[in-house]
Symmetry: C7
Subunit: 71 residues, 7 copies
């Protein structure tokens, strides 16, 4: 059994990909999270089919996140 938060813990300081409710995809290094799945990403990039936008450090609110994938 891999609890969802345990997998976040294992992904610390590694690159992850996030799908948000507004259909944006973010990639960045996970440097923090809390029990609500709020997350801190570094070197974040927003990727769409057309472009890549550098966002740097980002705090994500967990309730906007659909899914999280380690990269």
């Amino acid at each position: 059994m891999v609890m969802p938060l345990a997998l976040l813990e294992k992904s610390m300081n590694k690159n992850i990909s996030l799908l948000l409710k507004d259909n944006r995809t973010l990639e960045g290094k996970l440097t923090g999270y809390d029990e609500y799945m709020n997350m801190v990403l570094e070197d974040t990039e927003e990727r769409t089919s057309e472009q890549t936008r550098r966002l740097g450090v980002v705090i994500l609110r967990g309730n906007n996140v659909v899914s999280i994938s380690p990269l």
Copy 2:
């Protein structure tokens, strides 16, 4: 009586299909979950009528899930 979370427990390490609120369908092996129906899937694939996309390991937020089916 099969409690919903008990059925998730029985589905551990088996393939399940998830329908998300944004109408995407994911299939993968359930390797973890918590009381909020957050889930961890491995070998996840997103399937639409047009294509299949390999997503690998995915943490799903339970509040985006509409329904779950063992495969």
Copy 3:
């Protein structure tokens, strides 16, 4: 007085119809539920005006359910 959850209890192992927030209608045998109206259905079918799709066993998240009718 018929409490809503008591009616679910009385519907156990019987066929019910569910209307979901995304306007899909599911029919199946209710084999479990919990206090949040999460439900387990067996022999589930999704019915639209155009087609019937067999879904088998399904866990439904209660917060996606609009209404439930015993059949």
Copy 4:
């Protein structure tokens, strides 16, 4: 002062009309409710400007209800 739940209590075994968030209107005999305004209706009919559909017994989730009127 008429507390909202007290008015539901007074409406027991009487016909009520419900407006749902998805703009459907249901009419039926209120035979049960709980503190979340989940309700049980009997002899329920869904009424739109074009048609009337008989739904029989229905459990309504309170969070889909906009307003309730005794008939």
Copy 5:
């Protein structure tokens, strides 16, 4: 300082206007409310730019209410 619920209390048995999330406007006499801003209105009318519809007694769920104005 006028606490929001205190203003509701002061509006008891007076006419108020409600704007709902679905953009409908209701007017009626406030005859009850609870801590969630669920409300009971009497002699309720729904007003749109095109027409006025008499709804009589209505229980409103507070989470559908955007704003309330004493008349």
Copy 6:
């Protein structure tokens, strides 16, 4: 550090501007609020690019508010 509720307190009896989730903008004198950011406004005006509508006293539900600005 200015806590958000402390800034509301400092704005008491002063004019504020509110942006609501439905994109309406309201201006009025803040005469009350509670811990949920429900608010009471007096001399409220709704402003759109096309018109100004006088609303008088308004109770606003906090969960419909996007942002608040002292004027």
Copy 7:
């Protein structure tokens, strides 16, 4: 590990950029926040691709915020 709220604390009195659920982007100096990620911004500007609008002091409700970036 950088907890999301700790990063907000570190961003106090510095400029941050906020993406809201309605797709607006705000920039301003963070002068306060609370546990719900409600925030107080000063010298706030709303930026769209077409224009910049000065908003001054703004209280933001946390549940409308998608992501936060220190600038």
